[in-house]
Every structure is written in C-alpha cells, then in structure tokens.
C-alpha cells in the first residue's frame, strides 16, 4: 500500500521541476532543434525538387534541341525542294520564252519574206508588162512599116463596116 501512495513532496517537486524543465527545454532545446531539423528537411526537399526540375529541364532542352534540329532539317528539305522547283520553273520558263521568241522571230521572218516576195513578184509583173508593151510596140511598128499593109488593113476594116 505504501508503494502506491503518492507522497505529496515528490508530487510537488516533480510537477514544479517538470514544468520548469518543460519550459526551459522547450525554449532552448526543442524549438531550435526542431526548427533546424525542419529547415534542413525543407532545404533537402528543395534541393531534391530542384535536381528533379533540372533533370526535367535538361530532358526538355534535349528534346527541344532534337525537335529544333528535326524542324531545321525539315525546313532545309523544304527549302531545297522549293529551290529545285524554282530552278526547274525558271529553266522551263526560259525555255518556253526562248521558244516563243524563236517562233515569233521565225513568223516575222516569214512575213518579211512573203512581203519581199510579193514586192518582187509585183516588180517582176510590172517589168514583164512594160517589156511586153515594148515588144508589142516593136512588133506593131515592124508590121506597119509597109504602107500597103496599112492600106490593106484599113480596107479590110472598112469592109467589115457595114453602113
């Protein structure tokens, strides 16, 4: 029974001492210790998070680089293709233009030739006409050099005339 009978003195001193102990340790030990532990945990957490973020950033950058490279490559291909197309077009256009020009020139030449030909033919015709007239004049002159022949013709002509 003595064992389970609390003594007032010990209860008093334990309570007082424990409360003071609680206060002092709480103020000078637990508070700074827990604060330091918390702070360190937070900083470790942060460091880990930062490392994770850095890793993600790295991965993102790498993938971004890759995609950039891929895009660049694709763009290069497109540009090359376009250039090729443009070249083909330019060459084709040039050829077409040259052909057209050539055709135009040929046509022009033909027209010129035709015109010249027509002129030449007209000229030839005129000369032939005047030549023929000259020949006819000369033939007529030759035929009618003899007056008897002139008279015979006139007589003949007069015979035809019926009054």
């Amino acid at each position: 029974m003595e064992l389970v009978t609390p003594e007032i003195g010990l209860v008093f001193w334990t309570t007082i001492s424990f409360l003071i102990f609680l206060f002092i340790l709480g103020k000078f030990a637990w508070k700074p210790i827990l604060a330091a532990i918390n702070e360190r945990e937070i900083s470790i957490e942060n460091a880990l998070m930062k490392a994770e973020a850095a890793k993600e950033e790295m991965a993102r950058l790498t993938s971004e680089n890759e995609s950039l490279l891929r895009d660049a490559r694709a763009e290069r291909d497109i540009i090359l293709q376009e250039a090729r197309k443009l070249k083909d077009k330019i060459v084709g256009d040039a050829r077409e233009a040259a052909q057209e020009e050539g055709a135009k020139m040929i046509e022009k030449a033909r027209l010129e030739i035709n015109m010249q030909k027509a002129l030449a033919i007209a000229d030839v015709k005129n000369q032939v006409a005047s030549l023929s007239l000259e020949i006819a004049e000369k033939v007529l002159r030759k035929q009618f050099e003899d007056a008897s022949k002139q008279d015979a013709l006139v007589t003949e002509l007069l015979k035809e005339v019926k009054l």
Binding site: E2, L3, V4, T5, P6, E7, I8, G9, L10, V11, F12, W13, T14, T15, S17, F18, L19, F21, L22, I24, L25, G26, F28, A29, W30, K31, P32, I33, L34, A36, I37, E39, R40, S43
Partner: protein
Amino acid sequence: MEKRLILNSKILKLSRICALFIALWAIPVMAFSQEKAASDGNKPYDPKVAIFEHIGDAHSWHVSLPLVKPFAIPLPVILYTDKGIEIFSSSNLHEDEVYHGKNDYVLVKDKIKIADETGNVDATKKVYDFSITRNVASMWLGMIILFIIFGSVSSSYKKRVGKAPKGLQSFMEPLVVFVRDDVAIPNIGVKHSKYMTLLLTLFFFILINNLLGLIPIFPGGFNLTGNIAVTLSLSFIVLLVINFSGNKYYWKHIFTPEIPLWLYIIMVPVELIGIISKPFALMIRLFANITAGHIIVLSLISLIFIFNSLAVSPASVVFVVFMDTIELLVAFLQAYIFTMLTALFIGMAVQEHHGEQHEI
C-alpha cells in the same frame, strides 16, 4: 564498404555501452554484501526490507560503491507543519531518534512524524513533507544530464546550420525525429507542432530516468519513474493538456454522443470516467513496469543472501543480466508507450471531426 565499417563500429560502441550497463549490475552484489555485512549478522536476511528500501524514497542518499565504505549523502529536509516551514539537514534524522526543531520529529520507516514529549508518534498533528528526497535529487540529476546533452545538441545545430548532424547531435536527432514522425504526426496530425515540446520532454525525461535507474551504483540506481508520485504528476500534466486542448467535437463526444437518449445514463458517466482513466492507465503502466523490473532484479540478487551462499551467485547474475537486457528494452519501450499514448489521447482530443463511427 567504408560506410558499413563505420556503421559496424557504431553498433560496437552501442553494444559496449549496453555491456557497461549490464556489467555495472554485477557490482551491487558486492556493494550490497558490504552493506548487509555492516548491519547485524544475526538477523535473518529479509529481502522485502532491502527491496522496498530501494524501490521507495529516502531522505538521504545512501551510497554503496565498491571498495568504499557505504555512506549517506545528506539532503535537505523541508517540512510544513502547523508551526510553519522548517528546513534542516537529513543528517540530523535517524531511525528511532528524536530531532528537536520547532516540533519534535521522529523518523518512522523513513517517514517523518511529529513526536510528543515522550518520543512517541503524535498522530493528531499533520506534517507535510516537501523534502528534497533521493528521488527529487536524482530527478534533478537526470534533468541536468538532459540539459547538458540537449544544450550541446542545440548549440551544434546553431553552429552547423544546414549541415549533416555530427557526434552527439547525430545520436539524438534520430530519437527526436522518431518522436516527431512516428509518435506525434501519426497520432495528432497537422497540429502536432504545438505538442512537440511536451512529447519530447516526456519521452526524454522518462527515458533518462529509466536508464539512470538501471545503473545500479551511485548516482544511478534509484526508482524514480517507478514511483507513483512521479507518474501521477506526469499523467496529471497529460490530463490537463488533453482536456485543455479538447475541441468542441471532443466535448460533444463526451456529453452529447449520437446515441439513443436513454443510453446517456450509461454513456456520459463512462465517458467522464474515461477522461480520468486514460491518464490513470498511463500512471499505472509506467509505475508498474519500472517497479516490477526493479523488484525482479533485486529479488534475483537477494537470492544470494537468502541462500547465504556464493554458489548461487553465478545463476543469479546470469538471470540479472538477462533481466537487465529486458529492462533496457523496457526503458525505451515505456518511454515510447507513455509518449505515444499521450500523443494518441491528444490526437483524439484535437481531432477535427469524429465522424459517424459511434453509430456502429
């Protein structure tokens, strides 16, 4: 590989400390025997007296060290009687001898009583004994040790901001973090930080006194945490903390639980008893565990003196070592359980909503 080596050496150190604790237990056999030899040899040895002398409190601190003649450290006696406060040294008090102060005092079974002129106990006069007894002194010793330990730990936290713990700091930090992460947070939850001071102080106070109680020689070997007055004070503080932090759900659960009205006659008294019984269980658990451990160890040692033969001592020591190993575990376990249950009860009191669990 190197890390493992370091770890192993740490374990080795720890086991050495444990071995020291255990080895020290063998010493009281010698000390005990000296003490007993000093007392009269004719009377048959009464283990009950010896054991209860150790389990209980004393006004002076008897020191039995090997190779030193047993002596007693006097402690101040503080008494409050109808004639006021009186302070004197405990060296003035002896069994069956009257000390003449403001009153006449006699020591009966280490209890101070007021005596009348004839030297007999005057039962009509009350005396309140606020003496600095052996237990009070040893409690202060434990507190001083904790102050030194945590003063140095806390200063090393200030010196080594943001760095990994080192030395004593790294020995104490797991314990502190254990109390926080495995005791406070799972039981109390987000509001735990308010109660960390109480929980940590309780844990280390009980732990250091349990451990010091295991050391058989001066300045250890007392039975503080196995004293009902100490556990009463601790659990009374816990009782106050629980009920002052109880929120409206806690009180609603006690006074207006969601049950049929006629059950209130049973439930409300049961809940009211529960307020007391929770800390009461804490008080009894710690007291009984520690006291029982001490009684077993002392009984085993007493076997040697009961049989009055040195031949019993090997068996006795083997059993004592075994018991001490268990007591070492119990020292940690009881500190943990007391703190854990305190946290649990606080957690129940501050829980935001009790839900519909009592309808089941």
